[in-house]
């Protein structure tokens, strides 16, 4: 029996949902486990970094890495895995585009620490504790990883072969990706392993979208009783379907929530948030500029909505912070 | 009957006057005036003015600085804004009257007319107490406008006092008038560099 291909899974700055998604493969995971040899999966199995370091370079067939990169330790780990792997797959929105943690690029380390350790309401007001990278204890010097000013996507740190988008990627896409890797039927390097068109193309509600999609008001999901059989955009609720890559089969929409764009932009669009912004501006149909402003102002937190998953990989990248002394 | 020469030579006019008025808040639309006379016609007191509001606008546009600042009209204006609302060109005529009043005050370009004098007294009192005491103000008005009007006002004052709507003793004032003065003082130095030395700012006892 030929040696089973070695597989590693790792997480960086992420919520853990991507790990859940792997577990959510349900019975299919047994097939995967039978087909591969998992050599590193800190969430589930007890392997040490030294085990990985001990492997020869390129010994791992594929590493699935989820989460954005924002700590020096994460950088070290992904560089290690890159060295040891033939293929690296950025797994999930955070790794692919920067993800929700990427919204931290609206601040920097100092302002984040300021809030988290001093200003946020606390049981212990006035505490001044701040994480340090080095501390002396009787047993010797302890070291903690460095926290970066800027969150990065995986491809901003190491070379990435494929991307599995989604928050998290759907079981079907994961299974397809594993299948493709196992059978060697791989698309060109750099491909996003999902649909090529935007989500509307596979959304059932697209049929109900009026030919002239123009809205007079913007509503939040909490403000309306959504008609689940009618295109949400036509009901004034911002759905990012038109801007977002397909492949999820309109999972959220079928579940009664509009698309928030976790699959990111289609290949040809350079900046997800910019396109999303121009798309929303396009469909708001108001003659009176004052009223239009009023309605557009109802898009609470535009950065958070239009760049929810992709700030680090957008043309903006991050907010420019004032120079600190 | 005296014969007067009315021709105006260009050098007697102030070419910059119009721009000066137009650059003040509310004066910007003055160029749009059609001279239609709606302002004069709707004004409840234009019939008492030496120059109707329409003429005042026309004079400002022509650079007739002295004629405007020396006119009675600007002091007759009751600031009821009827002209401003009715003007088909949306010229803020009331605001322009105020602009002219302020210029006249600053340049002492007004006859010893009772209205500007009363307004100065008002400003002084408000600056001191932060608020206005009507009875004290009344006395000042009477002093400015002469004994006869004072006699005429006496029965009115007496009746108001009996109804507890006026008192000679009570002074209406803020708890802390200094807090207002701090704000006003902060605005004071603005005038210092621009005001000509010969015409000290009349804006209330600096």
């Amino acid at each position: 029996m030929a040696e089973k291909p070695k597989v590693a899974l790792y997480w960086c700055a992420s919520c853990g949902g991507c790990e859940e998604a792997v577990v959510d493969l349900a019975e299919a995971i047994l097939d995967v486990v039978a087909a591969v040899d998992i050599v590193f999966w800190p969430v589930a199995l007890d392997f040490k970094v030294s085990d990985v370091e001990a492997l020869p370079d390129k010994a791992i067939a594929v590493s699935f890495i989820n989460g954005a990169v924002r700590l020096s330790e994460q950088k070290e780990m992904v560089e290690l895995l890159r060295r040891k792997s033939q293929l690296v797959v950025a797994f999930g929105s955070c790794s692919h585009l920067g993800g929700i943690p990427g919204l931290a690029n609206l601040w920097d380390k100092a302002s984040i620490f300021d809030w988290s350790y001093s200003k946020a309401p606390s049981m212990e007001p006035g505490a001044t504790t701040r994480p340090m990278t080095k501390i002396q204890v009787p047993e010797g010097e302890l070291e903690l990883p460095e926290f970066w000013d800027t969150v990065k996507s995986l491809n901003q740190v190491i070379d990435v072969d494929y991307y599995l988008p989604g928050c998290p990627p759907t079981p079907k896409l994961i299974a397809n990706a594993v299948q493709a890797i196992l059978t060697g039927k791989l698309p060109p390097k750099g491909a996003v392993l999902a649909g090529t068109k935007a989500l509307c193309s596979e959304c059932d509600l697209n049929e109900t979208k009026p030919d002239k999609l123009l809205i007079q008001d913007i509503k939040r999901v909490t403000e309306v009783q959504l008609d689940l059989k009618k295109c949400y955009l036509a009901q004034g609720v911002l759905c990012m379907g038109p801007v977002t890559r397909s492949g999820c089969e309109a999972l959220c929409i079928n579940g009664g929530m509009p698309c928030t764009g976790c699959f990111g932009p289609v290949q040809e669009s350079p900046d997800y948030g910019g396109k999303a912004l121009s798309f929303v501006a396009s469909i708001v149909d108001l003659e009176d500029p004052a009223r239009a402003q009023e309605v557009l102002a109802k898009v609470a937190d535009p950065t958070g909505i239009f760049y929810r998953y992709s700030l680090p990989t957008s043309k903006l990248g991050r907010k420019k912070m004032p120079r600190r002394k | 009957m005296q014969v007067v020469r009315t021709v105006k030579y260009e050098e007697e006019l102030d070419a910059g006057f119009t721009n000066q008025v137009a650059s003040e808040p509310g004066g910007d639309a003055i160029w749009n005036c059609l001279q239609c006379g709606t302002c004069s016609a709707i004004c409840p007191v234009s019939i008492y003015m030496d120059k109707t509001p329409r003429r005042i606008i026309g004079l400002i546009r022509g650079g007739f600085r002295d004629e405007v600042l020396g006119s009675l009209s600007i002091w007759i204006c009751t600031s009821c804004y009827a002209c401003t609302v009715e003007c088909p060109q949306q010229i803020r005529i009331t605001d322009i009257m105020y602009i002219a009043k302020r210029m006249a005050m600053k340049e002492s370009q007004y006859q010893r007319f009772v209205v500007p004098a009363v307004e100065e007294a008002f400003v002084k009192m408000v600056r001191k107490n932060g608020r206005l005491t009507e009875s004290r103000m009344g006395i000042k008005v009477v002093r400015k406008s002469g004994l006869r009007s004072g006699v005429a006002m006496f029965p009115i004052a007496w009746r108001l006092m009996r109804k507890h709507r006026m008192s000679l003793l009570h002074v209406e004032r803020m708890q802390d008038p200094a807090s207002l003065r701090a704000v006003l003082d902060a605005l004071e130095p603005r005038h210092a560099p621009t005001a000509p030395a010969a015409a000290p700012s009349r804006a209330a006892g600096a």
């Binding site: - | 409840p44 007191v45 007759i76 009751t78 009821c80 500007p116 109804k163 008038p177 804006a203």
Partner: protein, 292 residues
């Protein structure tokens, strides 16, 4: 955030005392809180604007800044003159960045940041739109039937920052009269100036304007003129005797505040409404039946 902030202005603390009394009584009868702005200052009136624009705006804006510092509720300014000064200052600060820069800097010296967040309202509009005619009608216990009233708005709350709807053809006072059961007469000069400060400055002119208004009301055979402004009320009320004497015609008429009219219909006590402070005791004949 409930209720309103209350900006009385100087007149309501003096000759306009009946206005303040009736206003507070009516609002409290309706369960609407009016909280006086602490240590308010004069709005600047017309006089300050004739002397210095920035200071005039700053005077008014200081009151608005204090209101902002509190809960930022709407500011109710019953005196039409104050209403106009405050509204105009707010508009000037919004429209002219230079003025705003200078005035906010000056207010900053007194630690009063100004953002222009509070709305300036006139109580007539508050009563008819926020409270609403239906609620007012329900509270009426003594409908003022048989009472003919001349609705007189004066100038300041109609323009140019209208404190009541339809400034060209206002009907708020008429609506209010109907709410209390009284009959508003057609009063063509209802938006004409009362003479304002000219009754003090240039009396011959001021009194002529008063005379026209009173004659017209008299010709319409009304029982009272209803006003919304302490200066209008004062001008129309205190010069009646003098005009009678000078012109040889009877122009004597009760001049009421609209809040007094409302208070009467609510069945509030005459003293609480400051009725006894009016120079001309009103409405003896038409209200005799009601009072009994």
């Amino acid at each position: 955030m409930t209720g309103y902030l209350y900006y009385p202005g100087c007149s309501l603390k003096g000759s306009g005392a009946p206005y303040e009394k009736s206003l507070l009584a009516v609002f409290s009868a309706l369960g609407q809180e009016l909280k006086e702005i602490p240590d308010w200052n004069c709005c600047g009136a017309t006089a300050y604007l004739s002397v210095d624009q920035d200071m005039a705006v700053a005077m008014a804006a200081r009151n608005l800044a204090i209101a902002e510092k509190l809960d930022g509720q709407d500011v109710v300014a019953p005196c039409s003159g104050c209403y106009l000064s405050l509204a105009k200052a707010k508009a000037t600060l919004a429209e002219y960045p230079d003025v705003r820069a200078r005035v906010t800097a000056a207010l900053g010296k007194a630690s009063l940041p100004y953002e222009g967040r509070v709305a300036v309202r006139h109580p007539l509009e508050v009563l008819l739109t926020d409270v609403g005619p239906e609620v007012l009608k329900k509270r009426v216990t003594r409908p003022l039937k048989n009472l003919r009233v001349a609705p007189y708005y004066g100038c300041a709350i109609l323009r140019p920052y209208p404190g009541v709807p339809s400034p060209q053809a206002p009907h708020s006072l008429e609506d209010l009269c109907r709410v209390v059961g009284a009959t508003p007469v057609d009063y063509p000069n209802k938006a004409r100036c009362c003479g304002g400060m000219l009754t003090a400055g240039v009396q011959s002119v001021g009194l002529r304007l008063v005379e026209i208004l009173l004659c017209e009301a008299k010709a319409a055979d009304v029982d009272a003129v209803v006003t919304t402004c302490p200066l209008c009320q004062y001008n129309l009320e205190v010069y009646q005797e003098r005009i009678c004497k000078a012109k040889g015609k009877d122009v004597r008429l009760p001049i009421l505040y609209f809040t007094q009219l409302l208070g009467m219909a609510f069945g509030l006590d005459d003293h609480a409404l400051g009725m006894d402070q009016l120079l001309r005791v009103p409405l003896v004949a038409p209200c005799a039946g009601v009072k009994a």
